[in-house]
Amino acid sequence: MSITVRIPTPLRKLTGGADEVRVEGGTIGELIDNLEAAYPGLKERLCDESGEIRRFVNVYLNDEDVRFLDGRDTKLKDGDEVSIVPAIAGGR
């Protein structure tokens, strides 16, 4: 199952500058593990030591936050788009 993952600006140095990558995964958890295999260092930015998605990073499946779906167990299907939305604070 090939999923499109949107990479925000702060994490693009880990994807060689790519703003969008395609990764396999049947669930959000699998997807994150496969992202880590392809782009080492990404998982640490997304998840804490216990593997939970960090609270200042939101992972969206299409337009819905996976925290309000099934979190890491959220099932993915072909054509889904996953977006990573980190907290940003700049205003000046």
């Binding site: 609270r55 700049g90 000046r92």
Partner: protein
């Protein structure tokens, strides 16, 4: 309703002619009070458009002075004002644009000691600050004082805009529903290493101004419950659902935050930058 002068009828004609605004809406704008945190990249377009729209009272807080490196995006200032407090510079620009506007300047940092009493005096708050501790402070103060908050943030080529009014509906989220606490230092790129595409500030700030004016007028669909994201490199806007977190430490049913919290600044930001 306000009795318009001839000049006001002419100035606001393109608002008054809109059925959704009309004389009544324009009158409401003239009687509205908006408080803005930051007279920088986001604050510049926000202040310009609120002033042009005839928002009657605009409060602006910023403790910095205008620096040459600000002028690439902070369009409310200009080269002659380098070294001048930003709030004074913003006040001059606003008054030259529209004398109907009363500007209140706060040449100070927003802290737990002053935020609630300032916020209390206004109808709507606009956050365009540059750090997480202030964002959490402003969110919490708006929640306690029951004021709508239009929040904007940006980083390099990306922007985020959201409206928070958890006091108005049971399912309406606050900033802590989105991010419960500031990220620890080191896990988010520090502000000082982050460049910013100048015109991005215009795109994000202008959306905040549009949203604020709609909130004041009570027209259209509020952005509350959504997070707008903008990626300038892809030239793409997205509207993501933002739900109330039942475990929110502030606006959830079992809050653990019942008073203002002061966080340490998580990144070393040069003052004046």
């Amino acid at each position: 309703m306000i009795d318009f002068t001839e000049e006001q009828i002419e100035r606001y004609a393109r608002h008054i002619i809109l059925p959704e605004v009309g004389a009544e809406g324009q009158s409401r704008l003239l009687e509205s009070k908006v408080f803005m945190i930051g007279a920088g990249g986001l604050g510049s377009p926000v202040a310009y458009y609120l002033a042009a729209a005839g928002v009657g009272t605009i409060g602006i807080a910023d403790a910095d002075v205008v620096d040459m490196s600000n002028l690439q995006r902070q369009i409310i200032h200009n080269q002659d004002r380098v070294g001048m407090p930003k709030v004074e510079s913003a006040c001059e620009t606003i008054q030259a644009l529209n004398p109907d506007v009363t500007v209140r300047t706060y040449n100070e940092y927003i802290t737990a000691d002053n935020v609630r009493e300032i916020v209390r005096e206004y109808d709507l708050i606009i956050d365009g600050c540059d750090n997480f501790p202030t964002r959490f402070l402003v969110n919490d103060a708006c929640y306690f004082e029951k004021k709508p908050l239009v929040s904007g943030a940006m980083f390099r080529f990306e922007g985020q805009v959201a409206t928070f009014k958890p006091h108005q509906a049971k399912d309406a989220p606050c900033y802590r529903c989105l991010y419960p606490e500031p990220p620890p230092a080191g896990l988010v790129p520090s502000c000082s290493e982050a460049g910013i595409l100048g015109a991005l500030a215009g795109a994000v700030g202008t959306i905040q101004a549009v949203e604020a004016i709609k909130e004041l007028l009570g027209i259209g669909d509020s952005l509350a419950g959504y997070l707008m994201t903008f990626d300038a490199l892809r030239m793409e806007w997205k509207k993501l659902r933002l739900r109330k977190d039942p475990a929110c430490p502030l606006c959830g049913p079992n809050p653990t935050i019942t008073d203002l919290v002061t966080y340490e600044q998580a990144c070393e930001l040069k003052r004046g930058e």
